[in-house]
Symmetry: D2
């Protein structure tokens, strides 16, 4: 399926539609095979021991999956997460950004399913894995 | 099982150990039957259309389950979420706080399992449900 | 919402539409508040150590949630599970049947969400919890 | 990490320890990169419309993950599933076997996490995805 939005277009969309995210998330790559997004980790994302919080990892997976979906169907701001399952497997490294590698497994008329692996920059094994389902609003471009 | 920490003690613990949360979360009740926690919704938690973001609901469930666990085992800052599954079922009401009703289903030696329903204040049906597993560090009080 | 099918009607439906289940599952109660279903445990459901297999517990949760859905929308054989998350918390007792207590949390136009607790007969704490999403085929009624 | 059991050893183990499975499951490949297991679909696994039942797919994922774990830690019959999350994405083809491709994402001292994609033979897109956590009993070889 042809891409409707590339990384640059997705970053413009995020900045315009989600000012609350404060530029913490950046799409690094968006292609046929999947999408990579980064979370620039700041003090606000940390927890005791210098680790990144679970909700911050969840937010990264959510942005990555959302953007992977939009890269295929175009800028539909109202697609919503209906289900997420996440396994936290390792402690992220202190002082490192995180990135998520996301793959769309299903793009149906009503539902899309994707999975994402989250990595701490410079660590080969994933710190978390996540699968998500998005509901796609009926009147899509 | 006797409670090790009540709502007041949990709120003191959250404020001291998790300053990054900025006081957004409050434990309202902690008892034998379960725990209720509130998220004071601010602009930072919102998404297009005035709804509360998924990661904010995830964070509320995480705090509620964590506090439900601590209420039983005492102030163990290092208990960590290993798995979470969340269903987003309804759109939260605009301009309302959220609260989570949490119940501990299992408190084992190594793992604890809990579930939480999240409600928009003033709406009878839950906006989300979540189940979480926490790993408990070996040397616990 | 009025019930479309009671326990007796659901059991007739299961026997007619799902002969492969071989009568292992029985709806015990179906009402406004939820549904209770039983798995009559046989040798085929067991695993080493006399415990009931995970897939058997999954199957019980699936039947319970499916029947809870049908009790509200009528005999729609083609509703399908799209997502399930299950936590196995305790070992079922040897030589005891299991039952699932199921509650519908959302009944939307396209998706339904339910949760179930699974119990070993005679044991107060649940052996497993499960949440499931069903997709409802468009032309229902 | 070195493999402790190859496909042949895993199949011998399954036949000896899990006679209830009736030989329905076969490990096709077990290596460093992951494991592939097959479900020989029979009438007992079917549902209305000729599709394979959800619990059968769950069982295939469970066997695949269990064997992937044993391939690394040796024949520990008592490792148990603690959590599973599964997305059913497409209808399996009628009259075709299923196979699962499984990858171990974490092998810790106490917990292992793996994911599996399930395919209908001859269909390129996965019919389901599953992630599972196993608890590993303390005294392991």
């Amino acid at each position: 399926m042809a891409l409707q939005m590339d990384a640059a277009a997705l970053n413009v969309f995020l900045a315009r539609e989600f000012p609350q995210l404060g530029g913490a998330f950046t799409v690094l790559e968006a292609g046929e095979a999947g999408l990579i997004a980064r979370l620039s980790v700041t003090e606000a994302h940390l927890r005791p021991g210098g680790t990144v919080s679970g909700p911050s990892m969840f937010a990264l997976a959510d942005v990555a999956v959302y953007c992977a979906l939009l890269s295929r169907i175009g800028p539909v701001a109202l697609a919503v997460t209906t289900n997420a399952s996440i396994d936290f497997m390792r402690k992220p490294l202190a002082g490192r950004d995180l990135h998520a590698e996301c793959r769309l497994l299903k793009l149906g008329r009503l539902l899309a399913v994707a999975e994402a692996l989250i990595f701490s920059d410079g660590q080969p094994d994933p710190v978390a894995r996540c699968s998500m389902t998005y509901a796609i609003p009926p009147a899509r471009g």
